[in-house]
């Protein structure tokens, strides 16, 4: 049970992301917490690290769909690889 074909799932996830990101409304907009910060005119007092790809936008690609999608695909692959490797490490050490 629970046998899955990994590449089929990966493709399905990327297709879903591509389709939804194509509708701009799914990219932008402050979330609930950011909306609260805006209402009360608050900005975080310090920032330690802004990330390698801040805000899921690759800096040198202007098209919002393309840049978000590429950042997303990169993220999906990294998350998959890291989870799988950490899992392998966990399982192997008995």
């Amino acid at each position: 049970m629970k046998e899955i074909t990994v590449w089929k799932w990966l493709i399905a996830i990327i297709v879903i992301l591509a389709v939804f990101l194509f509708v701009p409304v799914y990219i932008a907009g402050p979330d609930g917490l950011e909306a609260v910060f805006q209402t009360y005119g608050f900005t975080p007092l310090y920032q330690i690290w802004s990330g390698l790809i801040p805000d899921y936008q690759i800096p040198w690609i202007a098209n919002e769909w393309v840049t978000s999608l590429l950042a997303g695909i990169l993220g999906i692959l990294i998350v998959f690889a890291i989870t799988y490797s950490l899992g392998k490490l966990m399982v192997r050490r008995k």
Partner: protein
């Protein structure tokens, strides 16, 4: 609901780091056993985690120009187990903070607490409903209510943390209602998306959803 750095007090964040590290250790020790039992579980855990990352990128619009996105804890907990959901959502949060600057680095402990520990209560509600009503209806009602409550509780706790912080100029009496105001709507999105995915899998791949007798309380 990803809290950036520079919002919460250090004492809050350190307290959460202690809790989170203990929870991680417990989840790793126990999940190691579960994952060892069946080889096919690890690819599934990895793919579900990647799916959560993708779904968290998609902001659905709610009232008043604000948006929300899936949190996904209850979804992963239903498909795998609460402990694996803690590890899965934590992995997503770590990569979001490190690579995409989404959520603070020091504040990671608070984000893991809010989005990967507090939502446990939502899963327990799902668990109770399914034990009580052992059919598809129970599965769907449990999924919807569990997912809904998980986000409302996460935002409630997040509101308390921000209100209690000396860096944020308004008290809990302001921050909690402000957070809840948005998240009672965002939680509807969480519940609807989680339910849609569970319904789809129940129809196309029912083997991926644990039967009532196989439901896991922790690991």
């Amino acid at each position: 609901m990803h809290i950036p750095d520079g919002v919460l007090d250090l004492w809050e964040l350190i307290s959460f780091w202690v809790i989170v590290i203990i929870a991680w250790a417990a989840a790793i020790i126990k999940s190691r056993k579960t994952l060892n039992e069946e080889e096919s579980k690890l690819p599934f855990l990895a793919i579900v985690t990647a799916m959560i990352f993708a779904l968290q990128m998609l902001n659905f619009p709610i009232v008043g120009g604000t948006s929300g996105h899936l949190l996904g804890f209850v979804l992963v907990a239903i498909l795998l187990s609460p402990a694996q959901a803690l590890l899965s959502i934590s992995t997503v949060l770590i990569i979001q903070a490190l690579i995409f600057g989404d959520g603070g680095l020091v504040a990671l402990s608070a984000n893991v607490f809010n989005m990967a520990i507090v939502p446990l209560i939502g899963y327990f509600i799902y668990y109770g409903i399914r034990k009580f009503k052992d059919d598809n209806k129970g599965l769907y009602i449990g999924t919807f209510i569990g997912a809904y409550i998980s986000v409302v509780l996460a935002s409630l706790v997040c509101g308390i943390e921000i209100g209690a912080s000396s860096l944020f100029p308004y008290p809990i009496a302001v921050t909690v209602p402000a957070m809840l105001l948005w998240h009672v709507f965002i939680a509807l999105g969480e519940a609807a998306i989680t339910l849609a995915i569970i319904m789809y899998l129940q129809k196309s791949r029912p083997d991926l959803i644990p039967k009532t007798t196989e439901l896991k309380l922790w690991w």
